[in-house]
């Protein structure tokens, strides 16, 4: 009764979905194992996808042929573009999801996916022979064999939930934890660490007085994530904003000793960018109030997610704290907030393909690598799926450089720097070539590659090529079209608060003014007026940021030299003379692929890098 597959994916969260779908769509017989078939694609924390840096990841996943963007487009109930007042590189999409719809939609697509088998099972053990993973064994002794295995276990490895001084084993509230698997990894020699994260209590919307809060509406019309979505058809709903106050803070402060974070029960570190409310009040004591976003969990439920109120305080304190907030005076908690501790495997144990260095043919993706966020998980999932298949085909792995994709930044950071004991989240400031890695050009950057490996559809490929052509034509047109300093033209500019023309000026020249955007110029050119917004935006970015983009490209070129210097797999760092003990230890552990990657290892000095380059030169001569 042993089953054989090409690829086994353990876990059906955001990483598992992308991994399994990529593998199946690329033609591999794929098995997805999950603890609970009803909880595929569950959003364990806030009901939202995207955000700054994260929206970028979602667009990249979509460009490669992944699923997340289309799922949120179909099930999103509020869409907003963030940073609209800033430049296009840092604009990002974010959407509230109808959680149940999202889950159901993901399950439906997985069930209908060719080459993909779903099974409910609790994986207890990896089957490893001669340093190679052959398959997995479940709690009830069932064995599945696969050529490649991908672990996407999220917070489930030895998950332990804390509420006040009470704790219990769970993968998230309402689901069992996976007890055996992290021991199996430990036995194989993996360094396993422990992280902590937390979530908010969920409130009954019928007991909230929304009239005391400020509504926050989404964009109208809502802008989709996916390059393939024409428009959003879900009914859109608002979120609401309220604030904590001094009484809230007093309630929390007087009960801090009952928080597992402060009583010392939880020792692992949580993410500082996703702090619990008790953390915020302790660390920023002088702040009089904190924003709380009341986000609906779906159209068909009364549950409300009070974003900003993540907590692991005891339930009685949670109730008192919630009710001290304006609009929530009579609010009922439907599910308590909690903190969760879980095992993760330090990601420096991975190659940039996400295959583990210790066990061949084994891949790790998602929170098991110490990241946080659905988007970060999905991004790793799709790459693990692609690379598992490429490896079965005997092809080189797909590894994005830091100037190519946020996915490249994410994975390079993980495998080079590790997590440093704190869950890793994407920010645009992590990307040194931020101006090149925009949401708007994710398709132009990645779709061709996604299509080449057999994941992005032909349709997507053609669409992208057309976009490329049309953008090129539009840029040329804008450079060529000249506006004369007529009264009408200057009146239009005055309306934009832009200086009047002195002489004939090209549209491109006008577009270079910071206050002028492509839609503003529609009146000057009928072609521009008839151009789809995505094309116009692309042309605008290319013209407006030409100089800066050129500079970043030069920077990329300079660093390419270091990136091109490959460090052979078999280097014995002990014989590279002059290296400090610390440098030797780090290099031996991380085994960077290139001198460029080595230079990003924390604590490696320029001296060590020049010693390595000298060593490489010497080795080549020998």
């Amino acid at each position: 009764m042993d089953k054989r597959y090409d690829v086994i994916v353990v876990g059906a969260g955001h990483a598992g979905i992308e991994a399994a779908m990529a593998s199946a769509r690329m033609g591999c017989q794929t098995l997805m194992l999950t603890l609970n078939l009803d909880h595929i694609g569950q959003m364990s924390c806030n009901p939202a996808i995207g955000g700054i840096g994260k929206g970028h990841l979602v667009k990249e996943i979509d460009a490669l042929g992944g699923e997340m963007a289309r799922a949120i487009d179909e099930t999103g109930i509020q869409f907003r573009i963030l940073n609209t007042k800033k430049g296009p590189a840092v604009r990002a999409s974010r959407a509230q999801a109808d959680k149940a719809l999202y889950r159901q939609r993901m399950k439906r697509v997985l069930e209908n996916c060719e080459n993909l088998t779903l099974r409910q099972a609790s994986v207890e053990r990896l089957l490893v022979e001669n340093g190679r993973v052959e398959g997995v064994e479940t709690q009830i002794g069932e064995r599945f064999y696969g050529q490649r295995t991908i672990l996407t276990t999220g917070t489930f490895l030895k998950g332990l939930i804390h509420v006040g001084d009470k704790n219990y084993s769970a993968g998230r509230a309402g689901d069992f934890a996976a007890q055996g698997l992290s021991d199996s990894l430990r036995e194989l020699g993996f360094k396993i660490g422990r992280l902590k994260t937390g979530t908010c209590p969920r409130l009954d919307g019928r007991t909230i007085d929304f009239s005391k809060t400020q509504p926050q509406k989404g964009d109208d019309p809502p802008q989709p994530f996916s390059f393939s979505t024409e428009r959003i058809i879900q009914k859109q709903v608002p979120c609401y904003i309220t604030y904590t106050n001094s009484r809230t803070h007093e309630v929390i402060r007087s009960s801090l000793h009952r928080s597992p974070m402060y009583s010392g029960t939880i020792k692992s570190r949580g993410p500082r960018y996703c702090p619990s409310i008790e953390d915020k009040i302790v660390r920023f004591a002088d702040k009089g109030r904190h924003q709380i976003f009341l986000e609906p969990e779906g159209a068909d439920t009364v549950e409300i997610y009070p974003n900003g109120l993540s907590t692991s305080l005891p339930l009685d304190v949670q109730i008192e704290m919630v009710r001290s907030i304006e609009g929530l005076e009579r609010a009922e908690i439907m599910r308590p907030g909690y903190a969760i501790e879980y095992d993760y495997a330090e990601p420096t144990q991975l190659y940039p393909s996400l295959e583990t260095k210790l066990v061949k043919r084994l891949y790790h993706a998602g929170q098991i690598n110490g990241t946080t966020g659905y988007e970060e998980a999905a991004a790793q999932g799709i790459m693990a799926g692609i690379n598992a298949v490429l490896s079965i085909r005997g092809e080189e792995p797909l590894i994005f450089s830091r100037d190519q994709a946020y996915i490249g930044v994410l994975i390079d950071d993980l495998v080079t720097k590790g997590t440093d004991g704190e869950p890793y989240r994407m920010f645009t400031s992590r990307a040194e070539y931020r101006l090149l890695l925009r949401e708007d050009n994710a398709d132009l950057r990645l779709t061709e590659i996604g299509h080449r490996v057999g994941l992005a559809t032909l349709e997507a490929y053609v669409r992208t090529q057309n976009k490329k052509t049309r953008v090129g034509e539009l840029v040329e047109l804008l450079e060529r079209s000249v506006v004369s300093p007529t009264e009408a033209a200057n009146a239009r500019l005055e309306a934009l608060d832009s200086a009047p023309l002195r002489g004939a000026t090209s549209l491109a020249q006008l577009l270079r003014r910071p206050e002028v955007s492509a839609p503003d110029l529609a009146g000057f050119s009928s072609t521009l007026e008839a151009t789809p917004a995505a094309i116009a935006l692309q042309a605008e970015v290319e013209i407006k940021y030409h100089g800066y983009i050129q500079r970043q490209l030069e920077g990329v070129q300079r660093s390419k030299n270091l990136e091109a210097l490959r460090l052979p797999e078999d280097i014995d760092y002990a014989v590279v003379s002059g290296l400090s003990r610390e440098a030797r230890e780090k290099l031996s552990r991380i085994r960077p692929r290139s001198l460029g990657q080595a230079s990003r290892i924390a604590g490696l000095t320029p001296v060590a890098i020049s010693l390595l380059s000298i060593y490489l030169k010497k080795r080549k001569l020998a």
Partner: protein
Amino acid sequence: MYKEDTIAAIATPPGEGGVAIVRASGPDSERIAKEIFRRSGGRNGALRSHTLHYGTVQNPESDETLDQALVVLMRKPRSYTGEDVFEVHCHGGPLVARAILELILVRGARHAEPGEFTKRAFLNGRLDLAQAEGVLDLIRARTRKGMSLALDQAQGGLSKWVGELREELLDILVQVEASIDFPEEEIELLQRNQLAGKIGALKEKVSELIASYEWGRLFRDGARVCIAGRPNVGKSSLLNALLGEERVIVTPVPGTTRDVVEETINLGGLPVALSDMAGIRETEDPVEKIGVEFSLKRVEAADATLVVLDGSAPHTAEDRSVLEAVRQKRTLVAINKSDLPQAIDSGWVAATAGDKPLVSVSAKQGLGLDKLKQQLRNLLLNLPSEPPLMVTNLRHKVALEKGERALTAAMEAIRDGLAPELIGVELQEAKDGLEEIIGAVTNDNIIERIFESFCIGK
């Protein structure tokens, strides 16, 4: 790549001081030290590391004693180069030190190439790039003031100061980055004009450092000053007076000084090479003509000119042409022969010299020399006050200039209302410039700082 052999060299400058140091570094250091050094009191056994031992340096073959000396062994890695090092502190003077060095070389060491100790220190991670370059400057430093500047840099003075500027820059970057990555958070950020103010203040500090390069260069390489004047106004006498001894042939026959005579004096730590040269005058003598042309070229290349006039005689057309030749140059005008009755038209001097400083001296009697030295020093170090730290290395200056340009561009970007990520590009470039001096540091610091500074997280 350096070979792991043992190198040796005389570490102290030739001919200076009462003590000379011969240094060796490499795996054979300890063996050689034991072979050539005999401790007083006949003690044997291992030399304790990082301890001064007193004894004699002897040739083990001939038992000939070369000198009494102090020897110190520094076992790796706690040594300057990170290797086993030993030093012999012997009596000064080139002969003794040279004999000891030769002995060490005979015992198996190789003569070090210039800067090789520092190179090893750098390759072994004992120095960062800025420190290593500072040490190389130290080796070349000529006077004590120059020495302390170089020392300061070697000890990380420049790295520390630039590191502080980088901290300031990071605080500014945090503001920009936080506004980009956390637009939904209620965090208090600086207004654009406040941001521009902070960037401006930082730019000033970078500019100051750049300006100090000129000082640094003068202290390290020394300044060159030409003494110009028509023949027989006492240029050579003045040079001799400044040097404190008779070095140049002084005759009353005009045009005696044909060859350039260059001597270095110490102006409060600033090394100044003074060149006295053929007098600038109209002449038909072909040999003298070459000398005059040569003189004019030297004047062009010098950092400043010291024009000498004869105060005891009325001015001549030649005096006028000398002053005209140096019109564009930093110049100090010395009116010599103040010990004799004055015949020069002081009104003419003031009018012709313009805003150039004047000083009255008597080379013969040694009058007014201190004032002249002071004026000359001020003229050369044309800065309002001594900077806290001097940039002495061209590479550092270039990196700072890159930073300065980027900061200026960032201020312009703010003024023009450009998007914050573009301001970020400029600030990042400024950061790169500073990090070219102190070595790169990972990008993550920015994010760390954002979390330290602001309450982030919904």
